[in-house]
Assembly symmetry: C2
Homo-oligomer: 337 residues x 2
């Protein structure tokens, strides 16, 4: 049997911790025998959850952490002070080489800060971007950056394009992934100062497949595989997905309940609709990797269910097996020469 | 009978000109007898369309313009050179007082530039924002700015908040409209440099009802009546509405066609769904006003049908009757003291 891929999972993070987190870990190890999960957090609570399931004991280890970092806490301070928190302990497991990857549904700020401070950046990476997969008509695209790097510079966006290309090619298996920059028009002269400065840099970048500007309207159609933008815009795109999607599905459901005729119709279309809309569910795609660190750090939704946790853990296997970080290192260094 | 509200309409602008534009004008004058439409463009073409309809001849006048500004043309140059274009002629009708308002489905750039250069800004307004109404669960909200003012400054955003409040109160009849600033988190310390600087200015603004940050996810729910952001972000929000909405509705339709059972169901739910989704159709709300000019300038979608043109023309009546520009003038001057 091959060696384990070791994943540190913050068992205390997110709205549904530890119940859904522990269930996600169990589902992951039961589905894949090459992964070992280190659950960090309050031992007693975690063991009580683990006791509910049947699983290979070699594949799960509990690492006690007495403290929890709350979502509302200022992240820099929390990482510095709460040395015995589930997030800090899990990140140190990656730092010291025990684990290859880290998954948390907890504080985004603490994960972003802790990832950089504890795990550390790959040499040459200026800012590690948070890059979720978003559903499109053609499958999914990588939205890079949705993280905390607001007010980014053009050189950061160029690195995002490179790292995103490596990710889509290695982990998602997309050959020569198409890179687009989010813009307010298709023409090269359109955009704000950041986009206007970044556009020619991307155009002259030999090791990516740059296709030019992409308007937000064309993102859901899947016109680009790697969607480059600074974090404020990325966050707006991600949350518009959730907001417009949620509201429209609610409206469709309400519409179906307006008459007896439509209620009968609803019963008939329900199974087919459920399958189609599943493809547009953000949770299906697991968490968002924070790229460019010496180890994989994955942030999942605060509201993560066991499915998203499981998918995020399994995503770490491909990432590790593909030696993503080595590839990122090579691509970033190439730029410097 | 009251005096006419006079509206200049660019008959040559947009994908469906002049057919849908002329039809929209006819529908508007047939629905409301207090409006007169000046159609600018190629006389012969326009008259051929007009000949198809029955209407009160006093309510429509054709103003010949031999040139057309194409969407791809650089706007500043086009406005300067094409003096006999349908856009420039229509804007001069507002400038010289013949018309109160202007409606075009043509080049956004030419409308934004021409609006400022020909019609001119209200004294004190730094940048005229383009402010479309977007559908929400509670009705609609004003998204301000979606225009060409990228890289805006905090003082611009404060003026957007004021002008947007006047619009929602006067034209849409919303008492004490709630103003939110688009942000990537709810807390005051979150955001990019622009939002962090603007937030305290809005908080200390006595003549608006500021409710703080709004995350993109909460926009479709209708949590704020006036949604303040700079133009790049506004454009992304508007286009994500179109993109996610369009893709999801397509997916729902495809899902309904997957089996015989679901096809029968689809027939039964169709009429009810149509009504519900109509409320989420951007075209229902007419065009987007460019606020802060000495006259009303309204930009409609390039793909405008006669319905959107009609709604945009009728919107001009309320705007003029409510003496919006006088109210904006007062609110902006108040700030200066």
């Amino acid at each position: 049997m091959a060696e384990f891929v070791n994943v540190a999972v913050d068992a205390m993070g997110g709205d549904n911790a530890p119940v859904e987190i522990v269930k996600g870990a169990i589902d992951a190890v039961n589905e894949n025998h090459h992964v070992k999960v280190y659950l960090t957090g309050q031992e007693e609570l975690i063991n009580r959850e683990l006791a509910k399931y049947t699983y290979n004991k070699d594949q799960i280890e509990v690492v006690h952490a007495s403290e929890v970092i709350e979502t509302a806490e200022p992240p820099v301070m929390a990482i510095r002070r709460k040395k015995d928190s589930s997030i800090v302990k899990a990140l140190y497991l990656v730092k010291d080489g025990t684990c290859d990857a880290y998954v948390s549904a907890g504080s985004t700020g603490a994960t972003l800060v802790g990832g950089q401070v504890i795990v550390g950046r790959i040499k040459g990476v200026e800012r590690p971007p948070l890059a979720p997969l978003i559903p499109t008509e053609k499958g999914c695209s990588l939205l890079i950056d949705c993280g905390a790097n607001v007010d980014a510079r053009p050189s950061h966006l160029v690195q995002f394009a490179k790292m995103g290309s490596v990710y889509m090619e290695s982990v998602m298996g997309v050959k020569n992934p198409k890179v687009g920059i989010v813009n307010i028009g298709a023409e090269e002269e359109k955009g704000n100062a950041l986009v206007k400065e970044t556009y020619p840099l991307l155009k002259n970048c030999p090791d990516i497949h740059f296709i030019g500007s992409i308007e937000a309207r064309d993102i859901p159609a899947g016109d680009a595989d790697v969607i480059v933008c600074e974090a404020f815009v990325g966050n707006v795109i991600l949350k518009m997905y959730e907001g417009v999607g949620g509201t429209l599905i609610k409206k469709v459901k309400e519409g179906m309940m307006t008459s007896l005729r439509s209620k009968i119709g609803a019963l008939l279309v329900k199974p087919a609709l459920k399958n189609t809309l599943k493809a547009f569910d953000l949770e299906q795609y697991g968490g968002a990797p924070l790229l460019g660190l010496n180890g994989l750090v994955v942030k999942t939704h605060g509201s993560s269910s066991s499915i998203e946790i499981k998918n995020s853990i399994l995503q770490c296997i491909t990432f590790t097996e593909q030696d993503m970080n080595q590839k990122i290192k090579e691509k970033i260094t190439m730029e410097e020469n």
